[in-house]
Every structure is written in C-alpha cells, then in structure tokens.
C-alpha cells in the first residue's frame, strides 16, 4: 500500500513536471516565434465585401471573376462580375488586377492554392464569397445601438447596402459587428458554409 502511494505521488510529480516543461517552452516559443510555424510572410489574398463593394461603386479598374458554374452565375452574381468557371480559370492567365470569388470560399481557395505563384501579386480573393456578399453586405444584421468606434464602418455598410439595393435588419446583439472588424491580413481561410448544419455552436 505504502509503495503504491509513493509511486502514485511520483507519477503526479512527473506529470506536473511535464506540464511545467510544456508551458515554459510555450512561453519561450511565444517570445521567440509568436506566429509559430505559420508563415507570416505569406501574403493573404483576401479582400473584404465592404472593400470590394466600394471598389465596384467607385469603378476602380479590375477584373471581377465569378468562379461558379453558369447556372449559379445566371441566378445571382455580383455587379460587373464576369463568369469564368473554375476549370477554365485554372488554365487562364491574367494580366491585370483580378479578384476571384465563389459561392463560399471553396473554389476560390482551391484556385489560390494551385495558382498563387503563377498569378502574381495582383490577384485577390473575396473573403466569404457570394455568401458573405449576401449576408454581410446586401442583407446585413446590424445592432440598433452602434458604439462610437464602430460608427464609420457601420455607416459605410448601410450606405453600400442601400446602394446595391439590399436591406438592413437591426438586431439587439452587438456580436454582429465583429465580422466587420476582422483583420483580413491575419485571417486564415474562413470555414465551410453550411446551410443545414447539425452542429449548433455554443452550449
């Protein structure tokens, strides 16, 4: 019994030592290489729906390409977008500034992963695709009470939504603002959009 207790105790101490080593090395790592092995210099190609909406409105020079099939394009597409389905776009070369988008991020992500070396620095991808254009720009949810520091951004969204013929739904929650304050330079690719997901978030 006594031996058992002793070995149990030393096991606990060994586990505590392991936790200490892993945590201390985590601390060192976060000072030496805060971003870890994620390549921080890798360019994130994202453009947000708000920036893109402004660019279209101001008639800036760029090619906007819808990567979905013709049927989806006919049903709904962003103003001034051209339809070049993914398979065709994969083989094409683009000279000028190009912005790609797909339904969510799936096709645009695949294209970027395959082509980002050959496409050059002028290529961008719409963060969130048609889904976010629809949900976050045309028909966004915005809070009734807008905190001072978010006013500029929110007014811009309201203006753009009206310009493109959308409609705003005002809600109690402030959480909806977080989307617009993303730092796209720090973002990975967003998750897959699911229409009938069985995984509700939260508790």
């Amino acid at each position: 019994m006594k031996v058992n207790k002793l070995s149990g105790l030393s096991l606990n101490k060994r586990l505590a030592g392991l936790a200490f080593v892993l945590a201390a090395s985590a601390m060192v790592a976060s000072f030496v290489a805060p971003e870890g092995l994620k390549n921080e210099n890798e360019r994130r190609p994202f453009i947000s729906v708000v920036t893109l909406a402004n660019a279209i409105k101001n008639r800036e020079e760029f090619l906007l390409i819808d990567l979905r099939d013709a049927e989806a394009y006919e049903e709904f597409h962003l103003p001034s977008a051209e339809n070049i389905p993914y398979d065709s776009a994969l083989a094409m070369d683009f000279e000028s500034k190009v912005i790609f988008y797909s339904g969510d991020d799936y096709l645009a992500k695949r294209l970027w992963e395959k082509r980002h070396e050959s496409l050059g620095p002028n290529t961008m991808v719409l963060y969130g695709g048609v889904h976010d254009w629809y949900e976050k720009l045309l028909y966004p949810e915005l809070p009734i009470n807008i905190p001072e520091e978010h006013k500029t951004m929110v007014n811009q969204v309201i203006e753009l939504s009206t310009y493109y013929g959308g409609q705003i739904e005002f809600v109690e929650s402030q959480e909806v603002l977080e989307y617009y304050e993303y730092d796209l330079n720090k973002k990975y690719w967003p998750g897959a959009k699911r229409t009938n997901g069985l995984v509700r978030k939260g508790c």
Binding site: L198, V199, G202, C203
Partner: protein, 177 residues
C-alpha cells in the same frame, strides 16, 4: 484478486490521469469539430422541442427557444450536443459497469432523509439551470471548453461558480455532512 472483492466497487482512478484523459478528449473535439463539449445545451434542445410540441406559436415567438429549434428543416434533436450527451450517458454507464458501481442508489449526506435529498436535488437543478442559461453554458461548455481556450467570460463564470458554491456551502452543510 479474491472472489469476494470482485463485486466490490473498484477505487476511482487518479484524478490527474482522468483530467489528462478528459483534456485530450476536449482537444480532439477542438481539432475535429471546431467547437467544445457541452451538456446543458442538449437539455435545452429537449425542452425547446417539448415546448414546440405543446405550442408552436409560443415557441417560435420566444427567441430563446427559437435559437434551439432551428429553421424546422431538420429535427432539433438531430443535433451535435444531443448526440454527445447520449454518448455521455453510455460512457458513464459503461465505466460504472466495469467498475461495479452501477446500481440503484441515492447519494446523500448522513443527516438528511431520502425525500429531503430528492427535494434539494430537484431545487438545485432548477437553480443551476438558471445559472447555466444566464451564463451561456455550464461546467462543460463554459468552464472546461472556454477555460482551455482562455475565454474571458468562461474564467469569470468559473471563478464565480466556485465563489457561489463555497459561499453557500456552510449554509447547506447539513445536506452533506
């Protein structure tokens, strides 16, 4: 092992080892699902379905139930957390069977009657439900999940939980000792 000791409940495992096991389960959940574990959420789904069965208009008019009922295209019970809690029931049962701890029993302190224990267990459940719903999660969904993700609200919840329980413990000591 002697024949007599086989039916005896086995001792509990080292809490630190169980904690590491639970922590790895939680980590797996993050990596595979992009969410944490939970318990009270599944109970809320069950309640929302019940309310919806009694009166659909009443349930859909209430933002709280509506959040758990979804858009009506799939059954609200076909939900990740509901299945996870079914797993908890099975896992708890299996562990209890292997350790010879599964039998009908009432867990109570020495100085309280069975019916008294039932009453307090019931009332405690009601109070706890209010706490968990106000805080948007329970010990699993907030304290464990949010604790590991260093979520500000989860740590506030956890500290308040221990404060509430320690503060109340003296007043209800006759329930337990």
């Amino acid at each position: 092992m002697t024949k007599g000791s086989q039916k005896q409940p086995q001792p509990y495992w080292n809490p630190y080892l169980c904690g590491i096991g639970l922590g790895l389960v939680l980590l797996t959940t993050f990596v595979v699902m992009g969410r944490g574990i939970g318990a009270s959420g599944a109970m809320t789904s069950v309640v929302s379905v019940g309310v919806n069965a009694v009166s659909e208009t009443h349930a859909s008019a209430n933002a709280f139930y509506a959040g758990y009922l979804g858009d009506g295209t799939v059954s609200p019970l076909k939900d990740w957390l509901v299945f996870e809690v079914l797993g908890v029931l099975i896992g708890g049962f299996l562990s209890g069977v292997f350790a010879h701890r599964t039998k009908l029993k009432v867990e109570k302190g020495k100085s309280i009657s069975r019916n008294g224990r039932f009453l307090f267990s019931f009332v405690g459940g009601i109070i706890m439900a209010f706490g968990t719903k106000l805080a948007r999660g329970c010990t699993s969904g907030q304290a464990l999940t949010g604790g590991a993700l260093m979520n500000v609200g989860s740590w506030l919840f956890m500290i308040s939980l221990f404060a509430g329980a320690y503060g109340m413990a003296w007043f209800v000591r006759r329930l337990w000792i």
